[in-house]
Subunit: 148 residues, 2 copies
Amino acid sequence: MRTSFPQLELDAQICFPLYAATRAVTQTYGRLLSDVGLTYPQYLTMLALWGAEEPLTVGEVGARLRLDSGTLTPLLKRLEAAGFVVRRRDPGDERRVLLEVSDQGWELRERVAHVPGALVESLSMSAKEGAELRRLLHELLEHLDADG
Amino acid sequence: MRTSFPQLELDAQICFPLYAATRAVTQTYGRLLSDVGLTYPQYLTMLALWGAEEPLTVGEVGARLRLDSGTLTPLLKRLEAAGFVVRRRDPGDERRVLLEVSDQGWELRERVAHVPGALVESLSMSAKEGAELRRLLHELLEHLDADG
DNA sequence: GGCAACTATATTGCGCGCAATAGAATCGTG
DNA sequence: CACGATTCTATTGCGCGCAATATAGTTGCC
């Protein structure tokens, strides 16, 4: 390089490993999920719906996944088209859309129950390192939420 | 939820914090880079070109960033349209495209020299934690490269 | 009740990210 | 030299991810 800018080295930063690792993990999930016809963001959305006590709204899913309606609306329409979710307006507040997991959606849950284990296998990380990584990522998220 | 699938909890996994943290970091970069008209992937591409001793090919940039031509070709055309990069076929091998940083591209480097520092500031992570996070992410990448 | 703020979702536009494919140039082998 | 295999970039198609905007429904205040 023409002059020295050591702070601009690719590998010296956290940003690039984070970016590359996320894409690698997404691809690994993609291979595990292609059988059942889900993408990784669709899988995360189903996790949110499966984990809720009752039907969530689009906004509630967005709050959990940190995604907005521009991303979620078409994604949810695809999940509905695939038969995993039913979307209907909340009769009590017609602005809101309630997302209900269909019977087929509950069956899907059993078909992907092996996925987290398979992924942890692929990562081949110790439980201790995994917990540490999770802790650091949560910390990073909190800082960026506060003032990032 | 209807039945218990503890392994399917959103926060129990590494995947979701990784996914959310990456998007948060990308957004933080986006705010820092919007002044100069770069996106985050464009910035990473410029880092690769700035850091090379001589013009890189599309494939060489792809190897460094782990991106393929489907992503890079249009991205590089946008960088060329913005005046930061010159693309030309390698006279010695007409299959390859050489990517040269323009004068304007070198000037850009000085205008973003503050970005890594500003980002580290936003993360408000200790140097020790940053190094640990980087180490864990590199490890994760290696495992996924090998058999993921 | 009426009307202005506010809220929730949908739409549009653009830039990735990647699989699949195409097309051109080069290489290797006979 | 010929020709099939390989390499390199470009193209196409689709699904995010997000800013900006639009639209419909609700609430609060008078």
